[in-house]
């Protein structure tokens, strides 16, 4: 009788233990699909290719370190060609056919404005790693980004510039047929006003233009103390070159698009002294960043840029959310993302604020000897 009771008790205890252990041991699905939507061809592919490299490095590490247990991360990579239509198509396919749990991307804000609403209404979380325009996360509670919005970076950058150069007057040149650049110009205008710097001229150009001399001459005629350029990589290079050619020696402040080393490599001396605000730079003392830089160099043979770093961090953030949510369920991931606070990433300590925008530091950088260095 006693033995039966103890066997019964043992069995019951074992069962209870098993029941208690079951949820903790419940595995994530063996394959977790994440959609990666980036601009891999076309003018702005410099950004997308860089981001993809960062993401793929992160994926490799995540699986190797078993952050998600034994689950595999399957990255479904798609090229949005910086085309809204294509972006929409690609999102549709990823959401409905591939049935991804989440999407990272897209590269450009314009594509995001067109495609993200689809993810929002389908209930698929989206993490942007390079979209910085005003209004991205306002599209809905499933839209996140780890790229600092323009409004978070520009005031700080401008403040640093103002402190060093004490400019009275400024001039802006931006691309008028594209959301990112227009938004950035507006943010700069507001920041200039806040610094009591007078805006003496605003000029624009169109996508595909290659001759900006007249606009630059016009701005130069008003004798500003600093110039502000809001461009993407395709135009950024000739803009810088032509600015130097017509004799602009004043400091130039660039928007987020200038964070690509591609520009430095091509513009060469024309880029010297350019100031740009960034959430990351290559000599960042953050330990996760140092490890990232080393791993990136080892895998790809070249140094990473801000875009790669944000992509890399982005996948880590997403993976952490998946791990925290204990499932590959889209809604659960979304909730877990929203709760991310104080996570160690290459960007430093990272949290999402109430609007799903990143809370992390930004630093002003300056181009010295063809490389980004801290601006002081």
């Amino acid at each position: 009788m006693l033995i039966k009771k103890s066997i019964f008790a043992a069995t019951a205890l074992a069962a209870a233990l098993a029941a208690a252990a079951a949820p903790a041991a419940a595995p994530l699905p063996p394959v977790i699909k994440i959609g990666v939507v980036e601009t891999l061809t076309g003018d702005n592919s410099a950004y997308g290719i860089s981001i993809r490299k960062g993401i793929e490095l992160a994926a490799q590490e995540i699986v190797a370190s078993k952050l998600l247990g034994s689950s595999q991360l399957s990255l479904v990579v798609a090229d949005d060609k910086a085309d809204k239509q294509e972006g929409i198509s690609v999102y549709d396919k990823l959401i409905n056919e591939d049935k991804v749990s989440a999407i990272i991307g897209p590269t450009l804000s314009s594509t995001a404005f067109a495609a993200d609403p689809i993810a929002q209404s389908a209930g698929v979380p989206v993490l942007g790693t390079s979209t910085t325009a005003v209004g991205i996360t306002a599209m809905g509670d499933y839209i996140f980004r780890d790229s600092l919005p323009q409004a978070a970076v520009i005031p700080g950058t401008l403040a640093a510039v103002a402190a060093k150069y004490k400019p009275q007057k400024a001039a802006i040149l931006f691309e008028s047929d594209q959301e990112y650049s227009k938004s950035e110009a507006e943010v700069f205008k507001t920041a200039l006003a806040a610094q009591s710097i007078q805006l003496v001229g605003t000029e624009s150009y169109n996508k595909g233009d290659s001759d900006f001399r007249t606009q630059l001459q016009k701005l130069s005629a008003r004798k500003p103390d600093i110039y502000i350029f809001c461009s993407l990589v395709g135009e950024a290079i000739p803009v810088l070159q032509q600015a130097r050619e017509i004799g602009i020696t004043q400091p130039i402040v660039g928007g987020n698009g200038f964070n690509s080393p591609n520009i430095l490599a091509n513009a060469k001396e024309a880029a010297e002294g350019l100031v740009v605000g960034s959430s990351w730079f290559i000599d960042s003392p953050v330990s996760a960043s140092k490890a990232f830089v080393a791993a990136f160099k080892a895998k790809y043979g070249s140094a990473p840029d801000q875009f790669a770093s944000q992509g890399y961090a982005g996948l880590y953030i997403l993976a952490t959310a998946i791990k925290n949510s204990l499932s590959a369920d889209r809604a659960a991931i979304r909730d877990a993302l929203a709760k991310i606070k104080g996570l160690d990433t290459t960007l430093g300590t990272f949290s999402f604020d109430a609007n799903r925008d990143p809370v992390c530091q930004s630093v002003p950088l300056v181009v010295k000897d063809g490389k980004y260095a801290l601006f002081q």
């Binding site: 809204k84 239509q85 404005f113 067109a114 689809i118 306002a138 047929d177 959301e179």
Partner: protein, 600 residues
């Protein structure tokens, strides 16, 4: 372009090609419904291009109108809250209004200038979209405050596009079977001759342009509401070229041509990328392949098959010719309720020419020519080559305007007036070198002549009203009868191109007669005819005289002239050098000198 006399193997190949294209498209639609929307919209844009290309207007404006339609419907639906089934037609009407306005000036331009102008129009629309961000949501339409939110935009599905497209196809088909369709085919081949058949070519072109704009506007509006987002670059130059590609590849000879073209050119890139790309991996990365193939297809099509796919199918013309045999009715009756009847009597001369002159630079083609033509009389106009005879005919028929002088027809001055008005008022002509519409059957050619006398409206044709069908049957019957009078009844179903020279001249006369003229101008009708044919022609002309027609014949065949004319006018170097009865004129010294040269 050559008319195709139903070469069976080519036609079969065409059918197979068409079947392949259609099945490829169906496959795509089933596989990804989003593609079906794209296909249908491209097909509609192809129809829009067809409307103008069919009338030989190289308009590249479809893209621009599609942009206007897209934004107009988006603004109406999203900003003003109109339901989509109202905003889409409204957007199309806005495009139509724009087309009417710019058509007034744009359609005056020739060929390539028209193409460039419409290209410029498209670009202006694109720039306007960028410059009015408050209205259009900026260049990418994505501006959150002034733009078009995705959810609010997506209101239409492929099904509605398919229904509208099917309706448009029916309308095009029904039009092609009506007098408007014949008129457009005539304009396509030879606008000048079409004018002299009483077809208001300018109005027809405006209508074609308007139709093109309406359809493009519809397509654009549907695009806005199925795709859900707009971009200033959605309808730029490249798009206009794509649309042109549909029409060229598919052929602008028949309405289903551009549909096939659109089907092929839309499916091809997708199939290459997804279909073949999975089996031949490298193709997926060869992003430019679809473009290269499209460019090649365009070049090959225009060089080797300029009529496009549509031209390879058997000509419906031959079938057109067979119909009247069934519904011919009473071959003798001429006056039927719906067709205009024989001319009424009029007092005084029908035509009076006073001091008519025409100079080309320093060359005086006609100098102070006077002539009066009375009803029921036959006049001859002779003279050596270069005397100004055809110039005179051109002036009378309205294809040219005199440098000075007056032409009074039925009491009114008509010099310089539109040829089509003159033709409709009863002055018809034939041409020195037979100008038949080669792509139409003989019967259809004659039927074109009936254009101005047919009263049914286009709407009647669309609804296939009994009155419309009756009038068409009577028209064909009369055309057949006219052919019969000239001994050509068996040729009714033949393609006009296939006829011998002599037969063509006679068909021309039949066609001119179909306009129901009071005065018939015949420019060398007997050229290329032998003696027997010439004699028959002479008898025929005399028969016309008995019916009350006045006739002016330009001829070199002296037997014919002497045999039928009541009065003869002789021209030499643009001047009238003799006039009178055949006997009088043949004795005049000046005439002999002019023809044979003077020795003394």
């Amino acid at each position: 372009m050559r008319a195709n006399r139903a070469r069976p193997r080519v036609a079969a190949a065409a059918w197979i090609a068409a079947a392949l294209v259609i099945s490829a498209d169906l496959y795509l639609c089933i596989r990804d419904p989003r593609d079906s929307g794209r296909l249908l919209i491209n097909a509609m844009l192809g129809l829009s291009a067809f409307a103008t290309l069919h009338a030989r207007l190289l308009s590249l404006a479809s893209a621009g109108f599609a942009a206007i339609g897209a934004y107009a419907s988006a603004i109406l639906a999203v900003k003003l809250g109109l339901p989509v089934y109202l905003s889409i037609p409204a957007a199309a009407l806005i495009c139509g209004a724009v087309a009417l306005v710019i058509g007034l000036v744009v359609l005056r331009l020739k060929d390539v200038y028209l193409a460039i102008c419409t290209l410029g129009f498209g670009e202006i629309v694109r720039v306007a979209i960028i410059l009015l961000p408050g209205l259009t949501g900026g260049p990418t339409g994505a501006n959150l405050s002034t733009g078009f939110p995705y959810e609010a935009m997506r209101r239409a599905g492929p099904a509605s596009i398919a229904i509208v497209l099917a309706l448009l196809c029916y309308l095009f088909w029904a039009t092609s079977k009506s007098k408007a369709g014949r008129a457009l085919r005539a304009i396509r081949e030879n606008p000048e001759v079409a004018q002299t058949m009483g077809i208001d070519v300018v109005a027809a072109k405006n209508m074609a342009f308007l139709a093109s704009a309406l359809i493009a506007g519809l397509a654009g509006a549907f695009y806005a509401h199925t795709v859900g987002s707009l971009d200033a670059g959605d309808f730029k130059f490249g798009r206009a070229v794509d649309i042109l590609g549909y029409a060229v590849l598919g052929g602008s000879g028949a309405w289903f041509g551009p549909l096939l073209g659109a089907g092929l050119l839309t499916a091809l890139p997708i199939l290459i990328r997804d279909g073949l790309g999975s089996s031949f991996g490298f193709l997926k990365d060869f992003a430019q392949l679809p473009n290269i193939l499209s460019g090649l297809a365009l070049m090959i099509a225009i060089i080797f098959a300029p009529g496009g796919l549509a031209a390879l199918f058997s000509r419906p013309a031959s079938r057109e010719g067979e119909r009247p045999a069934a519904g011919a009715g009473n071959a003798q009756s001429r006056s039927s309720g719906t067709l205009d009847t024989a001319p009424n009597a009029v007092h005084g001369p029908l035509l009076r020419i006073s001091r008519l002159s025409r100079s080309f630079g320093g060359l005086k083609a006609l100098s102070e020519v006077d002539l009066e033509i009375e009803q029921g009389k036959i006049y001859g106009l002779i003279g050596p080559n270069g005397a100004g005879k055809t110039t005179l005919i051109n002036l009378l028929s309205g294809l040219d305007a005199p440098s000075s002088g007056k032409i009074e027809w039925l009491g009114r001055e008509i010099q310089g007036r539109s040829a089509w008005r003159i033709a409709r008022s009863g002055l018809a002509r034939s041409y020195q070198h037979a100008q038949l519409f080669g792509e139409m059957s003989v019967l259809e050619n004659v039927a074109v002549g009936l254009h101005a006398r047919l009263r049914s409206s286009l709407v009647g044709a669309w609804l296939r009203l009994p009155s419309f069908r009756r009038e068409e049957a009577e028209a064909m019957a009369e055309a057949l009868e006219l052919l019969g009078a000239l001994g050509l009844a068996e040729l009714a179903g033949e393609s006009a191109e296939a006829l011998s020279y002599g037969d063509r001249r006679r068909v021309e006369i039949a066609r001119a007669l179909a306009t129901g003229p009071r005065l018939l101008l015949l420019d060398e009708p007997a050229a290329g005819m032998n003696e027997v044919e010439t004699a028959a022609l002479g008898r025929f002309i005399l028969g016309l005289k008995e019916r009350g027609l006045a006739i002016l014949i330009v001829e070199h065949h002296m037997d014919l002239i002497m045999g039928v004319c009541d009065e003869i006018l002789v021209l030499d170097f643009g001047r009238a050098i003799a006039r009178g009865s055949p006997a009088e004129v043949s004795r005049e010294r000046a005439v002999l000198d002019a023809y044979l040269g003077s020795d003394s």
